[in-house]
Each structure stands twice: as C-alpha cells, then as structure tokens.
Amino acid sequence: MIALVNRNLKVYFRDKASVFFSLLAVIIIFLVYLLFLGDVWAQNLPQVEGVRPMMDSWIMAGLLAVTSMTTVMGAFGTMVDDRSHKLMKDFSASPVSRAAIVAGYELASFLVGLLMSLLAFALAEVYIVMRGGALLAPAGMLAMVGLIVLSSLCNTAMISFVISFFSSQNAFGTASSILGTLVGFLTGIYLPIGMLPAAVQVVIKIFPLSHAALLMRQVMMAGPMEKVFAGAPPAMTQGFMDEMGVVFQLNGQNMSTPLSLLILIGSTALFYALATLRFSYKSR
C-alpha cells in the first residue's frame, strides 16, 4: 500500500497542469478578493484601524478550508484516470487487496490535501503579515494545523464517496469544476452567510466543510477582531460575527466549538463508511 501511496503522490505532483487546476478555485477566490471583494467589504465596515487585516484573516480562513477540498479532489483524479484507462487492471493482477488499492488512493489524496493546505496556510500568514497584519500566535498556529488535518480528513472521506460514482474523466472533470465553484458559496466565501436567504443559510450550516471554515475563522480572526471591536457594544460584535459566519446560530444560540468539531468528525466517519461500502460493493 505504501508503494501505491508513493505512486499516487508522484503521479499527482508530476502533472503540473492538474496541480494548477486543483488550485484554480482557490486562485480565483483569492484574485476576486484581492481585486474588489476586499474593498467592498472594507467600505461596508466602520473605518477602524485593523479592519483590513481582520478581513484578510477572514478570507484566508475560508480559502484554507476550500484548498483542502479542491486539492483532495485533484488528487483523487488519479483514481478516476486509472479506472478509465483500465490501469486498475495492473494493480488487480498484483498481490494487493482491493481494499489496499482504495486505501492507497485515499491516503495519497489526504496527504496531498494536507500538504497543499499547510503550504497555503504558510503563504496566507505571509500575505497577512505583508499587508500589515500580525502573525498568528503559536497556540493559534497549532490549532490551525489541527483544523487543517481535520478538514483534509473530512474532505478525503466526502470526495472518496463522491468519486465512487465516477468512472469517466469527463464526468469527473465537469463535476469537480462545478463542486469547486459551489464550495465557495457553500462555505460562505464569495458571499458572507448573512447576505444569503435563510434556506441557503441552512444548507451552509449543514455542509461539514463550512464548519471547518467557521473554526478556522474563529482561530485566525480572534486577534484582529479583539483590536477592531475593542470597546464596541457586544451586540455589534455579535452582529458582525453572525453576518460573516464567524459563528453559526442554532435556535437563536451560538453553535459551540465542540459541536462544530463533532459535525466535522461525524461526517468524516459517515462518509468514510459510505465510501468503503460503495467500493467493496463495486469490487464484487
């Protein structure tokens, strides 16, 4: 299985174009923010010092959540390719179990998601500091690494389930570009959750990945928000957090961090079980 993981990683990173395309959604979000979204939001907020670094942290948190999804999806593309090119035949004629073959793809995709997200996190911190923000405290960094691991796991499980339905490259390519676009909305990045209708808000709150974005925002924005909202009325702070998806409301109460973590871990377990079921059914 280690040989397979190794091979899948090599195949993914050797294809520069596919690495680029798996980052495309992230690059688009970043450019859109850089070019005009950032200005729009900054103008809507009171002109207090530190608004810009706070919003930078906000967008970067969302971006990181998306990065792990799109890169995991890109890495899983190898599996679809192998299936459509019948490459799977060669593995199947070797003394490795079907489960190990699937696990090889899953583990490789997880590692790709993890590596790329960690890299993106480092770049995000560089960007924030370059624009005059503060570097995240060590405790925050540790929390971010934990969240990145968790969101990569969750994405691996979800995409693994989705991928079990695809065996043609075309279908998967289309699906992944749609998902890549959709995920920007589903995690409340293109438009903050507060600007969306109630029904869509419910979908966002159910979507596991938006909880990863939520938790990352909480970690990355804690410092900057303290500065911006120093001395502001609590209602105003709460209003901002609701609007931007720094907290989610459930029955008029803030959803707790453990609940969000539980949703992430629970959906990872659920989708992993479903994917395993799908693959074992398929190999029969």
Binding site: A3, V11, K89, D90, A93, P95, V96
Partner: protein
C-alpha cells in the same frame, strides 16, 4: 509431464453473450504456449480469468498448484502479465514505473533494487530507463511492459497480444525477445495472438473460436492435420490439361490463370506432373502454412 496451468470446464458469459463455452486445456511448464484465435474468440476473457481479474461462471483452474478462486493472492504473486493496453504511468520514468509496481509484491527494499535491475536487463530497457514512459515508442513501451511483468520473477508470463499494433520490424524484435526470454530463463510463456507466424513458433498451440477450442497441437501437427500441400499448375493448353485431370478424377480449383490441386504430401505431385507435363507452362508446389491450417480449422480467414 509437469503441468503449470490446468483448466477444466471453463465458462464465462457476459449477460447473454457466451464468451467462453467450456474450455479444457493445460500448459506444460517451461513451454511457449500460444492461444490463437480471431478477435472476439474469447482469448482476452480467458487470460483475464487466469490472471484472477475475472470470475469464471464455471470451471476449475489451477495455476502453479494454486486453485483459482481460493488462492488468488498466491496466483497473483507467481504470475506476470503484459496486457494488451499499455498500463504504466506515462509521466513516470520507466525505472520509477517498474519500481512502483515492484512495491506491490512482498519483497524487501534491497531485493527490490536488484529485481528492478534484473527485470530491466532481461527485458532490454536499460537504454531508456530514465525516460518518461509516455514519451517512448510503441516497441519501447512494450519492452517496459514486459520488464514490469518480470519484476516479481514470475513462474508464468502472460502476454495478451503483445505484438499487436507494432510495426513489422518492432514486432519482430519484440517477438524475438519473448522467445529468447522463454529459452534462456525457462519461463513458461502463455500468449494470445492472432499472428500465424508467431503461433507457428510456439511449442504448443490451442486454436479457439467462438469460445470453444477448435483445435490443439504442436504447430507441425496442426499443419499436418489441417493444412494440405498445394500444387499450382499454370496451363499452356488449359482444355487438354483439365481433360487429363477430369479423366484421372483429380479434384481441382481454378484460381485466376492457375489450376490448384490439394495433395496430401508434396511428393505426390510428381506422378500428376508427369501426366500433365505436355500441357504446362509452369507449376509450383507449396507446403501448407499455419494460415492454411487456421482457415482449415475455423473455416475463415483471421479477422484483424
């Protein structure tokens, strides 16, 4: 006799299409065994079953003493397969490809290095070991495929139409390497082909058509049995010639300007020739070929 592969009553259907309808055959250890048949005869289905990729509907198969269906993993460890399609990673180099696939077999890292070097030199891929597989020519790719199949020093090497789609010169050189490999290492080679000249050089041939075994034997036995020698006469005086043949009750066919007569052995052409000599402008005696045998067996020309 040491049988490395034994197949009895093998059946496989895809829905209502019967691909393989009850095959019985065996392969002797250390021999070059050819499975000959037109496209769609069931060759690839059979090879996929023997390589544990497809589950048969019925039948008993043992490969190197391991029972198919019960000891698939042991079978997979003791075989090497060259598939019809090129199944290595185009972006990785030949060496990386062989090494990665070698990692799928139980072996230590040190012996993997050795195995890679050995497979590379046996399959003669050393010259392009560091080049990406996707950039190789058809013949080089095929050699790399063979190197990959040899990585676990298999007991049986399966090759599914290894020379199909190669230009004649490359085809010849790949074919010669396969023969050399079998001769030098004593490896059992099981290959499917629809090229007569390849089947003619095998130790044993099974001809399959429509999922059934149509004939089997050594190439010379098959030729003996199914192909007849031919006598072609070019008449100078056609009417007189045919009159002589009719009088002697010799069956003949007329092809273009020739009169073709089937004869059991080439020597029997002599008395006939003596009889018709005055009316001839020329003649030709030819031995039966595998092509003739194949047509004799299946009643049709090979379908490309």
């Amino acid at each position: 006799m040491d049988k490395i592969i034994e197949v009895a009553g093998l059946k496989k259907a895809y829905g209502s299409v019967q691909a393989v309808r009850g095959l019985d055959f065996y392969v002797e250890r250390g021999k070059l065994f050819a499975f000959l048949g037109p496209n769609g005869a069931g060759k690839s289905t059979t090879i996929d079953i023997l390589c544990t990729l497809l589950k048969p509907d019925a039948g008993v198969v043992t490969v190197d003493g391991h029972r198919l269906g019960a000891e698939d993993s042991a079978i997979r460890a003791s075989i090497g397969v060259v598939f019809q399609d090129h199944l290595l990673d185009p972006l990785l180099t030949v060496e990386e490809n062989i090494r990665v696939r070698g990692g799928l077999y139980p072996a230590s890292r040190g012996s993997l290095n050795e195995a890679v070097a050995r497979a590379a030199s046996t399959a003669d891929v050393k010259d392009f070991l560091k080049r990406p597989y996707g950039k190789l020519s058809g013949g080089q790719k095929r050699r790399a495929d063979i190197a990959r199949a040899l990585i676990n020093t298999p007991k049986v090497l399966f090759l599914d139409e290894p020379t199909t789609g190669l230009d004649p010169q490359t085809r010849k050189s790949v074919w010669e390497s396969i023969q050399a490999l079998q001769r030098e290492t004593g490896l059992t080679v099981f290959l499917t082909t629809h090229y007569m000249e390849e089947a003619a050089e095998a130790d044993y041939v099974v001809v399959i058509d429509n999922g059934n075994i149509a004939a089997r034997g050594t190439p010379s036995a098959l030729k003996e049995e199914y192909a007849s020698d031919l006598l072609r006469l070019v008449p100078a005086d056609e009417a007189a010639l045919l009159a002589v043949l009719d009088a002697a009750k010799v069956a003949y066919a007329r092809v273009a300007n020739q009169v073709v007569i089937k004869i059991p052995t080439t020597l029997q052409a002599l008395p006939l020739l003596d009889a018709v000599k005055p009316y001839l402008s020329g003649f030709e005696v030819s031995n039966g070929t595998m092509d003739d045998a194949f047509i004799g067996i299946t009643g049709k020309e090979i379908r490309e």
